[in-house]
């Protein structure tokens, strides 16, 4: 589970690392990805696992679109820039949830006949559900991919653009294009998470909220802008949640996560690996 949190967080941190934007619509994007998976599965019978590249591409496009239509505008604004971004994406999130409810109804849907669903994998004495394992594996792959990306030309351009986009414009880098792609990748990451989740989780218009919240905590814990941070934080959170539930009443297990977050931030106000 921790890795899944991490993947959602990765997408978020990328977007943030780009331009100091906290995307409050992340949860809604996750929900969109899950619905997309469900729809495609229902109409074409394509197994979720095989849908990964398809939905990732779909979300990529959505991310770019969101950037172009909404976010680019927010960058023109210097006054209260951060607030505008927060509340724009927040409004977007509410809008998307409403839209989903309108289109899909609020009943729960789920994918029953998937390749991974319901099977388990045994490692000696430990029995793990296959969907979870697969999610873990894919999540790791996504992280590796993101890592490599940050080391490439593009990744560096991304970083530079964030630091000082005026200077960067001078050397011919189109900020809008770079950021657009960055948003696309971030959205694709959460899209992959959505597909993986759809394998074993139920789907409803509200499903994104809880995951998104944990993602935000993960990103802040790991440090805004750090991909490695998001990964580590995601894992820490997953672990903490499980441990806390064993020790105290499970309804309080999220408190463990929150306490860890606060504790870490007392000592490292920029998160574990934060660059900002």
């Amino acid at each position: 589970m921790g890795l899944l949190y991490a993947v959602v967080a990765a997408g978020l941190t990328l977007i943030f690392g780009l331009m100091n934007v906290v995307n409050f619509a992340h949860g809604a994007l996750l929900m969109a990805a899950m619905y997309a998976t469900w729809l495609i599965h229902r109409s074409t019978g394509l197994d979720p696992l095989l849908q990964l590249p398809l939905v990732a591409a779909l979300l990529f496009g959505t991310g770019v679109a969101i950037y172009r239509v909404l976010i680019a505008r927010t960058l023109q604004i210097r006054v209260n820039g951060a607030m505008v971004q927060i509340f724009t994406t927040f409004g977007l999130s509410i809008f998307l949830v409403g839209l989903a409810q309108l289109v899909f109804g609020s009943d729960f849907q789920s994918i029953n006949a998937s390749f991974l669903g319901g099977r388990t994998l045994a490692f000696g004495a430990v029995v793990l559900p296959l969907p979870l394992v697969a999610s873990g594996v894919v999540s790791l792959l996504v992280f590796l991919a993101l890592f490599r990306l940050s080391r490439t030309e593009f990744g560096r351009a991304l970083e530079a653009t964030r630091e000082d986009f005026e200077a960067v414009a001078l050397i011919g880098v189109d900020r809008d294009r770079i950021f657009g792609i960055g948003w696309g990748i971030g959205a694709a990451a959460v899209g992959i998470a959505g597909v993986l989740l759809a394998n074993f989780y139920y789907i409803s218009p509200d499903v994104g909220t809880n995951f998104a919240l944990i993602a935000y905590v993960a990103v802040a814990l790991g440090g805004f802008g750090s991909i490695l941070g998001a990964l580590i934080a995601g894992l820490v959170i997953g672990l903490t949640e499980a441990l806390t539930a064993l020790v105290v009443d499970p309804s309080l297990k999220q408190i463990g996560i929150f306490l860890i977050y606060l504790a870490v931030l007392m000592f490292r106000p920029r998160g574990l690996f934060g660059k900002l």
């Binding site: 009943d107 309804s251 309080l252």
Partner: protein
């Protein structure tokens, strides 16, 4: 000039003294009834179902469907000269403040004669309180929290059984089936979501278990809408009680069943506190995992012999846009409107005082409804004392009534022996 002044003075006096409003009874074409349910948000499915249920009953009253039950002949409300029932719906978003505003709007702007609601206890509290202040009856269609009829309100009416009745039915069943098959329940594991529904339910279950000498091996509470219940499922598996007793809403119910399955745990018996577990969406989501699941219910859809109106009503419900069978919640909501309609007929007036008197005098025999109850008769707190719950079991794709044995339509599948 003088006329206007007098009216203004009267209104001012009336408002400031807070006198009960006496509505003039006059010949009516239609009777407006307000319904407040969560029509959006995460309980929207329930709210929309409630809407279909109420619309179905309104259709039965207003149309001519000749269904073998009270008000089934249709043709409007006979006691009011054939007046039609007009339903007004408002979304509560499960928010107590919005629910209260909606009820207030219905009462002050739309002139409803009564308000029906509301699914959650929190919204029921605010709605019933504001109805009480305006002296308009509130019919609690599907709120089961026992504390609601103990608020000291005089305009509160609840046809449906409370959680105390429901939980008692569960333990009565344990005792009875234990007697019958020799496999007595000796231990239970409780798992509940931690809002008012789950917590109340768990408290009752723990108390009744203690009284029955049954050990409570685990009492797990979890935060509703949490992403994962795998840890909780593990704890249940470790406890390995005779019966697992969950109280969850739909999404958590799905999560729990899957989590237990993933943990390789198949409980010997599961006795659910209704809610999410009887939601058709739950069944659709977990498929074969639901086989053998037991739940309390206020409604038994297969009790057709004793309640011949069920097939016709169910057909109407399906066609109203719901596309699913009646279940515990929708049946109760439908019946609530039936009770209200009956009271309106007997009151022969839309005056609130007359309506309340008629409600208080309600005495409907069970076989005039679709519910497996002995009947509908309210005590001084507005609670129906003749509503007895049943225990259902999901057998081969259908919910069958298995208790009380007198109205059971199938034998319970009960194998808890180790």
């Amino acid at each position: 000039m003088k006329r206007i002044k007098r009216r203004t003075v009267l209104t001012a006096v009336g408002a400031s003294v807070g006198v009960g409003f006496a509505r003039r009874a006059r010949a009516v074409e239609e009777v407006k009834i307000g319904a407040v349910f969560p029509l959006s948000g995460n309980a929207a499915a329930i709210g929309q179902d409630a809407r279909h249920a109420l619309e179905t009953m309104a259709e039965i009253i207003n149309g001519r469907h000749n269904i073998p039950m009270l008000l089934g002949e249709g043709g409007g409300l006979s006691g009011l000269g054939g007046a039609k029932v007009k339903l007004l719906f408002a979304d509560s978003q499960n928010n107590p403040q919005i629910a209260r505003s909606a009820a207030e709007r219905f009462i002050t702007q739309d002139g409803v004669v009564a308000v029906i609601g509301s699914y959650t206890s929190a919204t029921a509290v605010t709605i019933s309180q504001i109805c009480n202040r305006y002296q308009i009856p509130y019919i609690s269609a599907d709120n089961s929290s026992p504390s609601l009829n103990r608020q000291g309100l005089e305009w509160f009416f609840r046809p449906s059984p409370t959680d105390i009745d429901f939980t008692k039915a569960m333990f009565d069943f344990f005792a009875a089936i234990g007697e019958k098959t020799g496999e007595k329940v000796q231990s239970i594991a409780i798992i509940h979501e931690n809002s008012v529904f789950g917590s109340d339910s768990a408290k009752l279950q723990a108390r009744m278990a203690e009284a029955a000498g049954i050990k409570v091996l685990a009492n797990i509470s979890y935060q509703a809408n949490i992403p994962s219940l795998s840890v909780e499922a593990e704890r249940l598996r470790a406890a390995d009680a005779d019966v697992v007793m969950p109280s969850s809403y739909t999404s958590d119910a799905i999560l729990l069943m899957r989590a237990m399955h993933d943990a390789g745990y198949k409980p010997r018996a599961i006795m659910a506190q209704d809610a999410g577990f009887i939601d058709p969406a739950f069944i659709a989501a977990v498929g074969p995992l639901a086989e053998g699941l037991l739940s309390r219910s206020a409604f038994a859809i297969d009790a057709v012999k004793q309640r011949p109106a069920i097939p016709a009503v169910n057909a109407l419900f399906r066609n109203s846009g719901a596309n699913k069978d009646l279940n515990d919640l929708t049946a109760r909501e439908l019946t609530a409107l039936q009770v209200l309609g009956d009271a309106l007929n007997r009151a022969k007036s839309t005056n609130n005082m007359a309506l309340r008197a008629a409600l208080r005098a309600t005495d409907i025999p069970g076989n005039q409804t679709i519910m497996p109850w002995a009947g509908v008769k309210f005590d001084e707190t507005g609670q129906n004392i003749k509503g007895n719950p049943v225990i259902l079991q999901y057998q081969k794709g259908q919910w069958r009534a298995v208790f009380p044995f007198e109205i059971a339509t199938a034998a319970a599948d009960w194998h808890i022996k180790r």
